[in-house]
């Protein structure tokens, strides 16, 4: 289980994150919500050690900051918001996901290749495996990077706005893929989202950040009931019927 314990980040004299504490429930999807600039991406940067912070991030009661980069990378995969157009093929990119497991001079083993093929298959990218990433569409590129993260084969997957470039259908497929990863492959997923309706629909838990502080952390239905989302985002809540069941939606 991963736990954020009083995590704070200062940039100059500005407090970006202030005493953030919450836990990720194992094998569940947790959506991280908040308005632009509230510190969501900064919080994710703490996970890769690229941002200095105070407080602790604990992984099974071990301090993440005290792990070696490779040890950390074998347990937590973080996909940031900006995904560069690199001159690699999709397969080469996905194979980079095996980096935490490769010692100096070691080449990919058969098991590594199987993991890479599996990641390509889960994301439906087999046909694009030999295409260069720099010529893919935004949505395809996002999937290719997700496949890389899946090849990393970590228990915890952290995604920063992964559906930005996806059309509505692709975003729904993507959400379904996350649900499959959670249920069938027992992954714990933390995902930064701006689609409030989607977040409530597909997440088990919600963490809402307002001005660098936790406004809510708990199960999605309790969050919806609390009215926090309306207050933080200035939206209104409604309901609709989807496939015979009632769903919550947010609008302005």
């Amino acid at each position: 289980m991963m736990r954020f314990d009083r995590v704070s980040v200062e940039l100059g004299d500005k407090q970006i994150l202030d005493q953030i504490s919450f836990s990720l429930q194992p094998h569940k999807i947790t959506a991280l919500l908040g308005r632009n600039g509230c510190g969501k991406s900064t919080l994710l940067s703490c996970l890769t050690g690229t941002k200095k912070y105070t407080g602790e991030i604990l992984l099974d009661d071990r301090n993440l900051a005290l792990m070696t980069p490779r040890e950390r990378a074998a347990r937590v995969a973080v996909l940031p918001q900006v995904l560069p157009k690199v001159p690699l093929t999709v397969r080469e990119l996905v194979s980079l996901g095996r980096n935490p497991y490769l010692d100096l001079g070691r080449h990919l083993t058969e098991a590594d290749r199987e993991q890479i093929d599996r990641a390509l298959s889960w994301t439906g990218l087999e046909q694009l495996a030999d295409k260069r990433v720099e010529v893919l569409s935004g949505g395809e590129r996002q999937k290719a990077y997700l496949a890389m993260v899946l090849a990393q084969n970590t228990g915890i997957i952290v995604l920063d706005e992964p559906t930005t470039y996806l059309d509505m259908g692709a975003a729904a497929d993507f959400a379904q893929l996350l649900v499959t990863l959670k249920t069938r492959h027992k992954k714990t997923i933390l995902i930064v989202m701006h689609d409030l309706t989607g977040a409530v629909e597909f997440s088990d838990n919600l963490v809402v950040i307002r001005d660098g502080r936790i406004a809510f952390a708990g199960c999605a239905s309790a969050c919806v009931e609390s009215g926090i989302i309306e207050s933080v985002f200035g939206v209104r809540k409604g309901t609709c019927c989807k496939d015979g069941r009632e769903c919550v939606l947010f609008y302005r």
């Binding site: 890769t48 690229t50 980069p69 990378a73 940031p80 560069p84 980079l96 980096n99």
Partner: protein, 334 residues
């Protein structure tokens, strides 16, 4: 491109064969014509062929080896820099190699306290120490690739101003400096190549050993860190390798421009961007390119010579330009 040529081993083999062929041409051809018998006699140091032995071992072979080392070293440096900074336009000059070497050489010439034989030593340490200064400054700020580039621009500007100032004070110094700054392999001696050869060989080996981790740096800091790479340390390591190999070349070939920028770019277009695969291919391609350019410079207007730096720019420039146009077409078709 043919499918078989995309395989690394096939491409390495092909380039190695082309390099061997170019080496044979380069030692055989020159302003002094040699028959096959004279060539073999000179090569095997047979009695009666002393002149040819002298030409081959004192002039042509050091020059050929120098061209191979210069091409491989600068290409390796450019490939490392482009990968680490994520900038296709990066070359050894952005980490101060040219400005550092140039300033050290002109300072040496200006003070006149030691002989010109110390020029290679000054060039190497000028280039290497300037890079270390740039990296130190960048690491002190935040160690990001943008800071490396900005620190490089600032330090280079100061050193270039120093070069201009010193060259204004003494016109004799300017003449000698110009010769160094154009870059060439005319007077290369075998003993000059030993230390640079070791440095370039060691840099290439280290880059191969750490190739997988250096490759990950092209994804940017956040992703590389997420994949278990100690980004700051690995970037610094790669930049030191890039600096050492380029400084080693500058020490015997002068400021040979263009190679470090263009060769990795061309190889990436042809064989993709996977760093580990590109390493041997880029080194071989760079060696072939510089050796061919030097050969062309020797033969085109023999017995006069055009410095290899000028030939490189004349041949490589239009070729690079055509590649860019083809790249634009490819993007337009998407």
């Amino acid at each position: 491109m043919k499918k078989w040529l995309q395989k690394t081993s096939a491409a390495v083999l092909l380039l190695a064969l082309i390099l061997v062929g170019t080496v044979l041409l380069a030692v055989r051809l020159g302003s002094v014509e040699m028959s096959s018998a004279a060539f073999l006699g000179g090569l095997l140091r047979r009695p009666g062929y002393e002149t040819f032995t002298l030409i081959l071992y004192q002039l042509r072979l050091p020059r050929v080896l120098g061209a191979i080392l210069a091409g491989a070293g600068l290409s390796l440096s450019g490939l490392l820099l482009q990968n680490v900074t994520g900038n296709d336009l990066a070359g050894p000059n952005i980490i101060g190699v040219n400005a550092g070497a140039g300033f050290a050489v002109i300072l040496l010439l200006f003070t006149g306290s030691v002989g010109v034989y110390w020029t290679p030593v000054a060039a190497f340490f000028g280039a290497f120490l300037t890079t270390l200064l740039i990296l130190y400054t960048a690491v002190k700020v935040n160690g990001s690739k943008t800071t490396v580039i900005l620190a490089g621009i600032a330090v280079t500007a100061v050193l270039n101003a120093g070069i201009s100032f010193l060259s204004m004070l003494d016109s004799d110094v300017l003449v000698t400096y110009n010769h160094f700054s154009i870059g060439g392999l005319t007077a290369v001696r075998m003993e000059q190549l030993i230390v640079p050869g070791v440095i370039i060989g060691a840099s290439l080996s280290a880059a191969m050993l750490f190739g997988k981790r250096i490759n990950v740096l092209c994804l940017g800091d956040a992703l590389a860190a997420s994949l278990g790479v100690n980004v700051g340390r690995m970037r610094l390591f790669a930049l030191v390798l890039a600096s050492a190999s380029a400084a080693a070349v500058v020490s015997f070939a002068g400021l040979l421009g263009f190679v470090g920028l263009v060769v990795p770019h061309i190889c990436r277009r042809v064989w993709g961007g996977e760093f580990g695969r590109l390493l041997p291919l880029t080194a071989l391609f760079g060696a072939i390119l510089v050796l061919s350019a030097d050969l062309a410079g020797r033969l085109l207007f023999a017995p006069s010579e055009i410095p290899v730096g000028i030939v490189m720019a004349l041949i490589g420039g239009p070729f690079f330009f055509s590649l860019l146009l083809r790249r634009k077409q490819a993007y337009d078709e998407i």
